[in-house]
């Protein structure tokens, strides 16, 4: 997953650095209401990444946390300015390619029918819709088939998925139903955590549909 993203970026001629000290953006604690603990971890994140020119994340959810919620998390905090700087240069992978670099055709080839799941953070926090689709449409051999409920939540929701496992699973089942209706072989997304949820239900149902993170398609030749 991460490897595919590095491959795509390096093929485009970018120098990729992976700070080995990185851990988490702080979202799990933030979403559960533990902002003090979230701030401690987010502060560590800011230190680790402050020197980068651009930060690209293989997750719309983590990107949304850093870009949209650090401002609130660091309000009146000595690190507010440093956090804002990091927020401003953090991009989701497909967003970086399409919006920042203006690239849609990566010369990829991938044989198969794919349906795309708009993760909630990508769709509603980062306002991404066409970016991943433009990239997928340019992939040779790939057929994109839209599902009816492409923008509906998969039910993951971080700690929600284990605090309310039944609601979360039932939401996932509705999502998977919509995916199955397309007859696609693969379901892709900008958010690995959604794919973990969707994949968990697909596997439990012994469905032949596979989950695949978007960079893995884009890195295929």
């Amino acid at each position: 997953m991460g490897i595919s993203m590095v491959q795509v970026l390096e093929r485009l001629g970018h120098e990729v650095e992976f700070p080995m000290g990185q851990t988490c953006c702080g979202q799990p604690a933030f979403n559960t209401g533990y902002w003090k603990e979230a701030r401690e971890v987010a502060s560590f994140f800011v230190d680790v990444f402050s020197q980068a020119d651009v930060i690209v994340a293989p997750s719309a959810s983590c990107t949304a946390m850093v870009r949209n919620f650090y401002g609130e998390l660091f309000r009146n905090h000595p690190k507010a300015a440093a956090a804002a700087a990091v927020s401003g240069k953090t991009f989701e992978f497909t967003e970086f390619l399409v919006k920042k670099l203006g690239i849609t055709d990566l010369g990829a080839r991938f044989e198969g029918t794919v349906t795309f799941h708009d993760g909630c953070h990508g769709r509603r926090e980062l306002n991404l819709k066409e970016e991943p689709r433009k990239l997928l449409r340019a992939v040779k051999g790939l057929e994109l088939r839209e599902m009816g409920l492409c923008e509906q939540c998969c039910g993951f929701g971080g700690t929600f998925s284990v605090k309310f496992p039944d609601i979360s699973t039932a939401m996932g089942e509705a999502k998977v139903g919509s995916i199955e209706e397309t007859g696609a072989q693969y379901v892709s997304s900008c958010d690995p955590s959604c794919l973990m949820q969707i994949g968990g239900i697909l596997t439990k149902r012994k469905s032949p549909i596979k989950t695949i993170y978007i960079a893995e398609i884009l890195a295929s030749r």
């Binding site: 988490c24 979403n31 603990e37 909630c120 309310f164 609601i167 509705a174 968990g200 239900i201």
Partner: protein, 481 residues
């Protein structure tokens, strides 16, 4: 049973009820399609949302001024204005009025606020018969249920269910058509209207400038409740006041589209007071009861005050995948869905109700649909933070996140944790305990497969690559410059 335990139990029951899922999905899908079509007729829907937000902001942030302005203007035309601090106070005002005016029966149009204060049960206990006249509310009342949805009280029932209900309770023949069923209810209700002494309505908007009440409905039952009985009583929250009459045309289409996907609702009525000298019809008396019931506490909270901008259209419920999954009754509240999950803990306290703010994947579909542009899912986050800060969090979660924070700030231990996770998963699979009650991750694995953690981590791949390339760097924060 605690509210949280009740929520857990009822939500679980509905989550895998496939009949329920099908009924609600059909209703919400029809709704979404209709709304999308009507919205497309707007030149600029986003402008409409900003417009509502602005007007509501003005009203809510100067609520004291507008309430007084309304009171003054309403009084001039003979309306009597009451203020109720809480539910018992509001109920007492209504009952006192009933006793003073010898009211034995009253008709009601749809009002969630009367649900909030449990008015019907209270009146019945005290010998006054309340009759719901909105068709959906009427069905709910005769079935002795609670409304399933703030706008669509019987969204969970099919035509066949209602046919069955009418057959059992009103003696109508089975197999009646929708038109027949409506006619049956109409006939029953017409008799009630003619013998009612009081009409109770809510208010969609309360106009300060003119001292008027604005009512939006589709059945004409609200205007009949206003005009036929000799006393008209309005009960509404203090947040319903808007400054000007010219605000009304801005709100009404937004409410109609978001509520039901109509361009405009069938009946929109402005009520300006009781019968005036020289007029031949209308009620002899009109009362307006403003209810606080902890709303002023929300008003004092600058960060979350915008929740009072809500116009109760129900769009957030229809858009919410949690609502679609568990249905309206599982919430155990007057207001269901996202607005209820934000508002209930604010009005009734975090200790009993914070679970509702956690019962959401924070997907934001509610915020996207809200015509008042209230950032509902961000308020869920704020509720969660406030619940934790007020000491209402769970003790083990606190310990968990303190530990988590320590690990996340120490990459070495984090790396070790990843290694441990790999080993752990192999062990669990070897011992076949994945998904059983021995599995520490059973809340995930009981219903979902666990993805296999990659054999080699990205960290390991990267480290090897750097070593091969000969420029291995340690990237601890202090050395990463």
């Amino acid at each position: 049973m605690s509210h949280a335990a009740q929520f857990d139990r009822d939500a679980r029951k509905k989550a895998f009820d496939l009949r329920h899922r099908a009924v609600i999905n059909k209703a919400t899908t029809t709704y979404s399609t209709t709304v999308a079509k009507t919205k497309a007729a707007f030149l600029d829907w986003e402008f409409g949302r900003q417009n509502i937000r602005q007007r509501k902001w003005e009203a809510i942030n100067h609520l004291d001024r507008y309430l007084e302005e309304f009171e003054k203007n309403a009084r001039e035309r003979g309306t009597i204005v009451h203020y109720a601090k809480d539910a018992p106070h509001a109920r007492t005002i209504v009952l006192d009025l009933c006793r003073a005016k010898n009211v034995r029966k009253l008709v009601k149009s749809k009002s969630m606020l009367t649900e909030e204060i449990h008015l019907n049960e209270f009146l019945e206990e005290h010998g006054v018969k309340p009759v719901e006249t909105d068709l959906g509310e009427y069905i709910v009342q005769i079935r002795k249920e609670k409304p399933y949805h703030i706008v669509t009280p019987v969204m969970h029932l099919t035509k066949e269910d209602i046919d069955q209900t009418f057959h059992e309770l009103l003696g109508s023949p089975l197999g009646s058509s929708a038109e027949d069923l409506t006619a049956i209810a109409r006939k029953e209700l017409r008799q009630e209207y003619l013998t009612a002494d009081m009409g109770i309505t809510g208010a969609n908007f309360v106009v300060a400038e003119t001292g008027m009440i604005s009512l939006t409905e589709n059945e004409g039952n609200a205007r009949l409740s206003v005009s036929l009985p000799r006393i008209h009583v309005v009960i509404c929250g203090i947040e319903k006041v808007i400054p000007k009459l010219s605000d009304i045309p801005n709100f009404i289409p937004m409410l109609a589209v978001s509520g039901t996907g109509q361009q405009v609702s069938c009946y929109n009525t402005l009520v300006g007071g009781p019968r005036q000298p020289g007029e031949t019809d209308g009620p002899e008396e009109m009362h307006v009861i403003f209810l606080d019931n902890e709303r002023s506490r929300v008003l004092a909270n600058a960060e979350q005050r915008e929740i009072l901008h809500c116009i109760r259209c129900g769009a957030c419920l229809n858009a919410c995948p949690v609502f679609r999954t568990i249905g309206g009754h599982a919430y155990g509240t007057t207001y269901q869905g996202p607005i209820g999950s934000v508002l209930t803990p604010l009005l009734r306290g975090y200790p009993g109700w914070k679970h509702l703010s956690y019962g959401s994947s924070l997907c934001g579909a509610c915020t996207q649909m809200c015509p008042a542009n209230i950032h509902l899912h961000h308020h869920l986050l704020k509720n969660r933070r406030n619940a934790v800060n007020s000491g209402a969090g769970k003790w083990y979660e606190k310990i968990l996140f303190i530990g988590w924070s320590m690990v996340m700030r120490c990459p070495f231990i984090y790396g070790f944790g990843n290694f441990f996770g790999r080993m752990g998963q192999k062990m669990m699979r070897l011992l076949r305990i994945e998904g059983t009650i021995l599995d520490p991750a059973q809340n995930w694995s009981k219903t979902r497969a666990v993805g296999t953690i990659a054999g080699k981590s990205f960290h390991a791949w990267w480290r090897e690559r750097q070593e091969v390339n000969g420029h291995y760097k340690t990237s601890r924060p202090e050395s990463h410059s």
